[in-house]
Amino acid sequence: MPYDNQPEYDRLVFELSSPGREAFSLPEPDVPVEGARARIPAGYLRREPAALPEVSELDVVRHYSRLSQMNYGIDTHFYPLGSCTMKYNPRINEDMARLPGFGRLHPLTPAPHAQGALALMHRLAGMLAEISGMDAVSLQPAAGAQGEMAGVLMIRAYHAARGERRTKVLVPDSAHGTNPATTALAGYEVIEVKSTPSGEVEVDDLERHLGPDVAAFMITVPNTLGNFEPRIVEITERCHAHGAQVYMDGANLNAILGITRPGDLGFDVCHFNLHKTFTTPHGGGGPGAGPVGVKAHLEPFLPVPVVTKDGERYGLDWKRPKSIGKLHGFWGNVGMLVRAYAYIRTMGAEGLRAVSDNAVLNANYVMKRLEGHYDVAAAGPCMHECVLSARRQKKHGVSAMDVAKRLLDLGFYAPSTYFPLIVEEALMVEPTETESKETLDAFCDAMIRIAREAETDVSVIHAAPTTTPVRRLDQARAAREPSLRWRPEA
């Protein structure tokens, strides 16, 4: 059924409001009622009642059901968002997370009564360490950016413990925006390192910047142009020669599971996005989880508490004097840890290797089918994502943004646009391993159709999207004059 069968419920819940309409009725109390207002100091009382919507229960149900039908997600459509790994979230993960021993466990349950959850966390940390070639893993960070923050703070604590004053962190110009943001927030000066046209680190430029004041180099592998960094071992060795630590942004881990390991490439720290690589919900279905792994020399600095195993008993170790401290309420987003654990156990080592093989194969299939129609940012073969450019279409007045909008009409979510920043009119496609050849073909057919339209019928592209609940939004005006709350019409 089309989503537009109930436009009545397109309105905001406030606009559905009718004075006096209620979603509940309670029996008269049979005990004396004491007015709560009389017990609360006048300064804390509202002068007038809150303007809450007055709607029936059925209105509420229809309103939110309709909103859910307008949702676009991996459960309904292909979602080729580059660098974000929007892959299928297997339902068995949800079953496992709802087992009462996990789903109904109170976060303040003492360790002796939460052995199952602690055992799972201990094992998951061990599995992530094995997958990444790291020595120890903290599961606490709530997302990739917080994993980065934890990693950079540990690097800072490590240098401080050695009595070294290092003030700069190097970041490639192709980096995810979170890398320089994290670094600046941790108190470091961010220095940009140049990339070659194919998105690789310009090693000479890196060498120029390395020195006794550099604390770390942060880099995404494979890089954001979807290519494996061919000189990565040389890069980590050069950094270490200058006493700098090397951080791997794990956003693109989906490309290398079981193929290579950050620890073996010389990295000292890396984070994992469980909501990307390890199939926990990504986006509105979150929250996320961004565990961080370190080599042994950084282990004393891990966030507290660390899950420990003593014989068959699991516990929480808070006595870690060098720790950077606590990062998250309770023990992290434990429900996500259960899902990631379930995924790793379901797939097994060979299965995870097949994930990366197929993710890389799918991206190369898309790149090959589209390379005659769009410019390719860096010559392939690529890893798990490919970066195209709408440079050619721009000559006909069609930008990457226009291509993205037109794709919505053709039934696909848009790839990442205008990232990485070093590619003009970038369109970054990450199909993931979970899509069939039929879906990839349908997506490529749509992209090819748009490339043809750019040459023959630009108006249909510029009018897009026409099939979505809202048409093309005025992004500039939305950013300049944000309308952040509903107000009743005067």
Partner: protein, 107 residues
């Protein structure tokens, strides 16, 4: 010296939605970031062409960032800088020289 971004830069950035500038009296250093320009596409550093002191900041940009797009070489100016070394002028390109540079780079 009046400082802003080029017509090419504003065209590449797309609609500018926010400009963050230093205060009057701040020092800027040649080739280093002095502020930030945010467009619907990306957030980018603004680089100083010369070293010197900020003596004036365009007050209009806070409420009307779109004038950077409309008139980058006129009303969309960002700072007036008193250069520490007036000789730094000589190292800069004119807008015409810059366009020639871009044309060479475009193939």
């Amino acid at each position: 010296m009046r400082v802003g971004i080029t017509a090419f830069a504003q065209e590449q950035l797309g609609d500018v939605v926010f400009v963050e500038l230093p205060k009057v009296g701040a020092r800027v250093t040649a080739h280093q970031a002095f502020g930030v320009v945010e467009s619907v596409k990306a957030v980018s550093d603004l680089f100083a062409p010369v070293t010197g002191e900020v003596v004036e900041v365009n007050p209009e940009l806070a409420s009307k960032p779109e004038i950077v797009n409309q008139d980058p070489y006129g009303k969309g100016w960002m700072l007036v800088v008193q250069p520490a070394d007036p000789g730094e002028w000589d190292g800069l390109l004119t807008s015409q020289q810059y366009e020639e540079f871009l044309a060479q780079d475009a193939h």
